[in-house]
């Protein structure tokens, strides 16, 4: 109302002034100056004029426009879903430390010298100081992913949910819970003490982050609390997610069961692991027959996750220099394959002109030192077989195993499984042969260390010095990044 009145006044002021001034000849100016009355009239007009200008400018809405078109406050479920679609949810899943510490590859002395990233040089020989003060993505990315999840979970609670949204809301919440659990799980594999049923209530796990408040001081939970929280998130996610993901980039019931299976196996709950694996495979049990894959291809596996039937949940690790140019697959690992009949030997590996054996068989369908580390049915079949064998159901285990191997061994060859008593070792060997650079080996070493018959001493030789990693060494738990210890109540791991 006011501003309209002001505008009218503005125009009338102008009209008045124009006509008024036009009627005055220049010599009349002096008369005008002394003319008090007209002076007052003008004062009034000027006051109106300016009042109207100010009111024009006071328009509140002028400032309400968004300053950056693609910047928003995440206030809708769609915004939160978009957050769950971010790269770091599935591209930044770092299992680099564990891969560097395990026995899948070797690096030449010269290759090691060429590495500038400290944790790659130091991690390879399990040195005391691994990071040299540098930030480490295995930690930072996982916690940033957790922050995304916590913000999404908290804002979902705040958003008034209409009925038509409920399926989408469930999906976002389910994904956030799954990603949080998965991230906590990966952190625990690198930075928490290995799970042991007896000492889990005392052993230091990781710092659980269940709230988005960045000002909260971090502290470490016990291993038991860590696993409890991870399992709770997974149970929560299970209810909300669809059976299968329609693009494999997002979480699903099958992915949750797969992760349950991995976790229970690690915890030694073979019954639980078996059940989860079976539930997962009920939903998603496809295998890719390697007889249909050409070993001639530079990159044998398809790039798109939907084109590889084995992929349940797609995740990749960050590119790593040591795993691109410096590594060579260890001779010891290559010896494990049946040279005649195992299709994987030729499909997975390639010897370069310089004599280096490299791994080209990632389910990511890419080279470049980036590897698939997500969830796939091959691993779940191997979990199923292992649990059956451990639970004494050998014949069931053999059935699972031969079904699986039919897709890995040349089709014209009949599958021969080992004698009684050697079945478990064979399955564990099969895990090594199947799961290359999948981020599983470190976890397996930590787990199997606790069984004397599966113990292994890792050795590295660098410039004539031999470094060893004894079973159950404290070095199976990587140090917490320096920055995290400095700014929190987090206790550093002993080395």
């Amino acid at each position: 109302m006011l501003s309209i009145a002001g505008q009218e006044n503005l125009t009338s002021t102008f009209r008045f002034n124009f006509s008024y001034w036009n009627n005055i000849r220049e010599n009349d100016m002096d008369i005008l100056y002394n003319h008090r009355t007209s002076n007052y009239i003008h004062m009034k007009k000027i006051a109106y004029f300016f009042a109207s200008l100010l009111l024009l400018a006071c328009n509140d809405k002028f400032l309400d426009i968004k300053s950056e078109s693609n910047l928003v406050i995440p206030n809708t479920v769609e915004d939160l879903q978009a957050m769950m679609n971010h790269h770091i949810m599935f591209n930044g899943v770092c299992t680099e430390l564990g891969t560097i510490g395990s026995d899948e590859f070797t690096v030449s002395d010269g290759g090691l010298k060429s590495l500038s990233v400290p944790w790659q040089r130091n991690g390879y020989i399990w040195a005391d100081d691994v990071y040299e003060g540098q930030p480490i993505a295995d930690w930072n990315n996982a916690y940033q992913r957790i922050l995304y999840c916590n913000i999404a979970l908290e804002r979902l609670d705040k958003i008034n949910i209409g009925k038509q949204d409920s399926e989408l809301v469930n999906r976002v919440r389910g994904n956030a819970l799954f990603y949080r659990a998965y991230s906590h799980y990966l952190l625990q594999q690198a930075f928490g003490k290995p799970y042991s049923k007896d000492s889990a209530p005392q052993d230091l796990g990781i710092s659980l982050k269940l709230e988005s408040d960045v000002t909260l001081r971090s502290k470490r939970s016990t291993v038991e609390e860590t696993y409890k929280a991870i399992l709770a998130d997974l149970h929560g996610a299970l209810e909300l997610l669809p059976l299968k993901s329609d693009n494999r980039y997002t979480a699903s019931k099958s992915a949750v069961f797969a992760l349950f299976a991995k976790i229970y196996l690690e915890m030694g709950d073979y019954q639980g692991a078996l059940q989860s694996a079976e539930k997962c495979l009920d939903i998603h049990g496809d295998l890719l027959d390697f007889n249909t894959i050409s070993p001639e291809l530079l990159i044998p596996f398809p790039r798109k996750p939907l084109e590889n039937p084995e992929i349940i949940y797609y995740a990749s690790m960050m590119p790593s220099a040591v795993l691109t140019t410096a590594y060579s697959i260890s001779e010891e690992l290559l010896e494990l394959y049946d040279k005649e009949n195992d299709l994987r030997k030729d499909i997975y590996f390639m010897t370069e002109s310089g004599g280096r054996t490299i791994f080209r068989g990632s389910y990511l369908g890419l080279g470049n030192g980036v590897y698939f580390v997500g969830l796939a049915t091959d691993e779940i079949y191997l979990i199923q077989a292992e649990c059956l064998a451990r639970l004494g159901r050998d014949s069931d285990a053999r059935a699972v195993l031969s079904d699986f191997l039919r897709n890995r061994i040349k089709s014209e060859v009949s599958i021969r499984l080992p004698e009684e008593g050697e079945l478990l070792s064979f399955i564990l060997g099969e895990r090594r042969r199947e799961l290359i650079f999948r981020g599983t080996r470190w976890t397996d070493l930590r787990r199997l260390n606790q069984e004397q018959r599966h113990n292994k001493v890792l050795k590295r030789e660098v410039e004539g010095t031999v470094y060893t990693l004894e079973p159950n060494s404290k070095k199976y738990t990587w140090p917490i990044p320096d920055a995290a210890v400095q700014f929190s109540d987090i206790v550093q791991n002993e080395r």
Binding site: W21, E26, L32, N39, H42, I46, F49, L53, L54, A57, F62, L63, K66, S67, E68, S69, N70, L71, V72, I73, P74, D79, A82, M83, N85, H87, N91, S108, D109, G111, K113, S116, P118, E132, P135, N141, Y143, Q144, L147, Y148, I151, S207, K209, V214, S218, N247, Y249, L298, R303, K304, T325, E352, S353, G354, G367, N368, D482, Q486, S488, I490
Partner: protein, 1080 residues
């Protein structure tokens, strides 16, 4: 919330009105005096009315000033007498009066040499005579700006005013002059610290090189709060107000032609010490090869010589062939090659033509300038046209309209290949023994992949995969264009004697675009074709030209301003100038997608883009990728601001001045609560013109003025938000919309504030015998408060990497002193002028509340600046102590807990932060210029010397084991290295090690021994000019010659680098400039 907001606005409005009404009351309260003489003062030069002319009755203390219209009324005691008219830059005039009833018309002549500073200060909102200013201003006029031939107006200001610092510490000199500009130091830590640039009354939103420096009338630098608070929230770093030429009423048409030719010396490639002679490089590569540090892989580029050694090892070449090739390499140096084929002498031409003049109702100025630049890198050219126009009309009595604007177009071709761009994937810097051309023709160099692999491409059914840098320059065409358009009409209306209204509007548009055309035979295209050639030989990318339209960005800004002013003089002694106004601005930035056209035929102008851009193809030699396709993501940013402002200046008897400014700024800052969108800013100031006092009436002081101001201005940071915010994009994996967290939000976010106190003294001394001294001294304290800073956080919180948290916690204090003195002496035909500028500026962080448990390495490794710390300067440089080299192995001696140790890892990573040595700052604490000239009749010779002091730099050196990190780590200090026991007495360069260890390298790299004092005195330029005048003054002009960058006269450090730019690839080349001016 809305209520609070509108209450705040109404409060500001109320305050503005109170100011206005006070001024109105004043004007009504005083009646007219009795014995009064009226008059009007004009300038002889252009007939325009002169404001601010001091009018005094000779023999009395009665005096006044002329108003905006050049009119004055003065109280006189006698019926007849003499009036004295004076104005700086004009000849003082005595006029007798006899008849009080007649309006006295006085015209004043411009002083032959306007040696004293320009009198009128322009703030962009109003102009005031300097006499009535209380703030710290510097005014640079066209003559001064003409000194430098630079095509960048900001660069022309260097050395002309105190308090302005050009900081080139990170400059490489390779592509453009990268300098940070500071006015009176810094007032922020993480927000923008560059000054606000105003062009013709509005903030300038284009590229600075789109301004034609030849068409600038004057530049005013607003340094303190009284000056800058009128510009509000963006003015915390000082304001540079640029005014273009306008022409004047009642003046004859003038045609001004100017031509400049600038010759720039070819850069010296041997300046950079980070290279070793080829022979040494080959020896080092032999050693590394023997240690088997190289692995041969198709995808990995190895140094050419290493590949050669592999060939010898694999029996592909004979020992004889190898030896011959090695001998050839020993005698090549890529720097000679670069000097011969990559660089040249740079040249710049500038032609400028201006017309100006005016009748009683119309004035105009039209200026057109064309410049061409051939940069030192062959293939880098620049072409610029700038057109400026300004038309002023007297519509009717009191009403004026001014239409002005400009257009500028810059075309840049960037096809040049510089030495640092000859990079090699896998090695980094190109090997020193690289040859680019021989008798036969262009030579290929190692680039992205293994040399043997590249050479076998054709036998593998691929295209030639070699990279010929010199041929590439001819086969690609990269051009970019900057267009700038400005139109600003202004309507002014004076009415009722004392009042005036001004309505300003401005439209600015700045567009950046670029086209990259890669010819079919270019390496770029061949590499793309080969990479995407599939295993069965099918080509995904056709062998044809590739055309890429780079993302086109456009910035459009509109602003509208209404301003009401009231100027009055009453009782001859009281003068009041008041103005208030409001302004709205909107800036829209938009960009258009980038487009890729493959198999492009430049004749038919046809191409194709029919590819599956989502598909991943295996690439050769390894990996996979998508075909580079259009980037369809577009962006739009909208900035909106509303401001209300007022300014009040009252002076009594020309002796006492009080000023006050008040401003309220609001913007659509994203994610800020509405009641925090605005910020009130203000200033007050006072001045005492002591030279007007009786006790100084007959003294040597022609001017003596004390000034003091205090005020608050601000800084804007658009990267922070009170709420969690996400930024949308598209996930290339899934093609789904994705949102990245850009901030987790900070509910207590506030605006940054800068509080400035300034105390100043202006003085002018008439020392007799033709000697004059004038100048100013200013002391200031700038306090930045509520500054935003990075919150160093536990990465466990999720804050790490690109996601950072900013909070208002920091305070910073900058104290400084600016001195600007000009001494002038006349001996008959000889005129000698010397100008001395000096500044002292020190900053100190006074509060920093974040956790300072950071490791010592964080303080050393910080890129650019070390993490801020309370009680330390922003520009601080830390170092590790130096205890010399070990006589046993030539490695740095270090102590851990007082014990000698060789555990460098423990030493560097656990070094106590408190023991770090605070070696100084990286930006000069003192700087100054001395400019002098001697004129004999029409011949003038002059020069400038600069001085910078009180700062340090960390120099590069050879790192132990650095050669394992690639060629880029070589350094000439290699020859000074420790080789045998005893050497430690003569050198501080450590021994070569057989591997790289970053803690060991850091124990040396960051040690005190590599920190050098940077204090230096430099001869900036030498000028020779001749003013000519022929055809009885109808044709006038100037011929000038100038040499710039004459070099360092003295420096404290014995090290070779230029302390001002220690990391430059070559020092600033010497420049020679010739210019000719013709005016008729």
């Amino acid at each position: 919330m809305k209520k609070i907001y509108s209450e705040k606005i109404s409060k500001s409005i109320l305050l503005l009105f109170v100011q206005l009404f006070v001024s109105v009351l004043f004007s009504l309260a005083f009646a007219q005096p009795k014995r009064i003489l009226h008059g009007e003062v004009r300038s002889v030069a252009n007939g325009s009315h002169m404001a601010g002319v001091s009018v005094a009755v000779k023999g009395t203390v009665l005096n006044t000033l002329t108003d905006r219209e050049g009119r004055f009324s003065i109280l006189v005691e006698q019926e007849k007498g003499t009036l004295l008219f004076s104005h700086v830059g004009y000849v003082t005039k005595e006029v007798n009066y006899e008849d009080l009833s007649r309006v006295l018309e006085v015209s004043m002549e411009y002083a032959e040499s306007a040696l004293e500073e320009v009198e009128v200060v322009s703030t962009g909102y109003f102009q005031i005579p300097k006499e009535r200013a209380t703030g710290a201003f510097s005014v640079l006029n066209a003559d001064l700006l003409d000194r430098s031939p630079s095509m960048n107006i900001l660069e022309r200001m260097e050395g002309l005013t105190s308090s302005l610092q050009f900081n080139r510490k990170d400059a490489t000199n390779e592509r453009r002059t990268e300098s940070e500009i500071r006015i009176r130091g810094v007032s922020s830590i993480n927000s923008d610290t560059s000054p606000l640039i105003i062009l013709d009354e509005f903030p300038y939103e284009g590229d600075i090189t789109s301004i034609n420096p030849e068409n600038i009338e004057s530049i005013t630098i607003l340094k303190d709060a009284a000056a800058s608070s009128i510009w509000g929230a963006r003015a915390g770093n000082g304001v540079i107000v640029i005014t273009t030429k306008k022409g004047s009423f009642n003046s004859k048409q003038k045609i001004n032609y100017e031509s400049r030719f600038l010759f720039i010396n070819k850069p010296d490639m041997y300046y950079d010490k980070q290279r070793l002679p080829s022979q040494t490089v080959l020896e080092i590569e032999d050693r590394l090869f023997d240690q088997k540090i190289h692995t041969k892989q198709d995808r990995l580029a190895l140094p050419y010589y290493v590949d050669l050694k592999f060939q010898l090892q694999d029996g592909l070449i004979t020992k004889d062939e190898f030896d011959r090739e090695r001998l050839r390499l020993e005698n090549i140096d890529v720097r000679d090659e670069a000097n011969r084929y990559l660089y040249r002498n740079g040249v710049q031409y500038l032609n400028n033509l201006g017309f100006s003049g005016g009748s009683s109702t119309h004035r105009y100025n039209v200026n057109i300038s064309h410049s061409k630049e051939k940069r030192a890198i062959i293939g880098d050219d620049n072409d610029r046209i700038v057109l400026d126009f300004s038309n002023g009309f007297n519509l009717w009595k009191g009403a004026g309209l001014q239409l002005s604007g400009g257009y500028s177009q810059q075309k840049k071709s960037g096809n040049g290949v510089s030495l640092s761009e000859l990079t090699t994937g896998g090695i980094g810097v190109v090997s020193t023994y690289t040859q680019l051309k021989n008798e036969v023709g262009y030579l290929p160099i190692v680039r992205d992949y293994n040399w043997t692999y590249v050479n076998s491409a054709e036998s593998n059914g691929l295209m030639d995969w070699r990279y010929y840098p010199l041929a590439e320059r001819e086969l690609i065409d990269k051009t970019s264009q900057i267009n700038y358009l400005r139109f600003s009409p202004q309507f002014t209306y004076d009415f009722l004697k004392d009042w005036h209204v001004r309505i300003n509007y401005q439209y600015q548009q700045s567009t950046n675009s670029g086209i990259n055309h890669y010819g079919k035979d270019s390496y770029y295209v061949r590499n793309m074709v080969n990479r995407f050639t599939q295993q069965d030989g099918t080509r995904i990318i056709p062998h044809g030209d590739i055309l890429n339209y780079a993302m086109r960005g456009q910035q459009k800004t509109q602003a509208l301003r209404f301003q009401l002013g009231y100027n009055t003089v009453w009782k001859d002694k009281h003068q009041l100038n008041a103005l208030m106004g409001t302004e709205r601005r909107e800036g829209i930035f938009e960009n258009e997608p980038s487009i890729w056209v493959y198999d492009y035929d430049p004749d038919l102008r046809l191409g194709t883009a029919q590819f599956d851009f989502t598909k991943y193809y295996p690439n050769r030699p390894a990996g996979g990728g998508r075909v580079p396709g259009d980037n369809l993501g577009t962006q739009k940013n909208v900035d909106r601001d509303i401001s209300y402002y007022s300014n009040l200046s009252y002076s009594y008897d020309g002796r006492f001045v009080l000023t006050n400014s008040l401003r309220w700024d609001a913007s659509n800052l994203f994610g800020v609560k509405t009641n925090q969108k605005g910020v009130p800013l203000w200033s007050i100031g006072g001045a005492w013109n002591m030279d007007r006092e009786l006790f100084l009436a007959e003294s040597i002081f022609s001017r003596l003025k004390l000034r003091a101001t205090y005020g608050v201005s601000g800084n804007v940071n658009k990267n922070v938000s009170a709420y969690p915010t996400v930024s949308y994009g598209t996930n290339v994996e899934t093609n789904l919309p994705m949102a990245a967290l850009s901030s987790v939000g900070n509910p207590s976010l506030r605006w940054e504030k800068v509080k400035t106190t300034n105390l100043g003294l202006d003085l002018g001394l008439d020392l007799g015998l033709g000697q004059k001294l004038h100048g100013s001294v200013d002391y200031y304290i700038k306090k930045g408060e509520d500054l935003l800073g990075l919150d160093y956080m536990d990465p466990t919180s999720g804050i790490s990497g690109a996601l950072r948290q900013m909070v208002n916690y920091a305070n910073i204090e900058t104290k400084g002193l600016d001195v600007d003195l000009t001494f002038h002496k006349n001996f008959s035909n000889l005129k000698w002028t010397t100008n001395v500028l000096g500044s002292i500026v020190n900053n100190r962080i006074t509060h920093y509340s974040t956790n300072d448990n950071l490791k010592a390495t964080a303080y050393l490794l910080g890129v650019g600046t070390a993490p801020p710390k309370s009680d330390k300067p922003v520009d601080i440089l830390y170092a590790l102590p130096w205890r010399g080299l070990s006589p046993e192995n030539g490695l740095p001696l270090v102590l851990i807990d007082g014990e000698q140790s060789s555990d460098y890892n423990n030493y560097v990573n656990n070094f106590p932060v408190d023991d770090l040595i605070d070696v100084g700052v990286t930006v000069p604490r003192y700087h100054g210029f001395l400019r002098t000239s001697i004129a004999w009749k029409s011949l003038e010779i002059g020069g400038m010397v600069s001085w910078k002091g009180g700062y340090k730099y960390r120099k590069n050196s050879m790192m132990p084991g650095g050669e394992y990190q690639g060629n880029g780590q070589h350094h000439m200090d290699y020859f000074k290295r420790w080789e045998k026991p005893g050497d430690e007495k003569n050198t501080f360069v450590p021994a070569v090690t057989d591997k790289y260890s970053s803690p060991l390298a850091n124990a040396y790299r960051y040690a005190e021994v590599l920190v050098e004092p940077a204090t230096n005195i430099r001869w900036e330029d030498l000028i020779l000019s001749y003013n000519y005048s022929i055809l009885s003054n109808k044709l006038r002009g100037k011929v000038g010659f100038m040499v710039r960058n004459l070099g360092i006269i003295w420096k404290q450090s014995k090290s070779d680098e230029d302390p001002d730019q220690p990391y430059a690839i070559y020092s600033r080349p010497r420049e020679f400039n010739i210019n000719i001016q013709i005016q008729f």
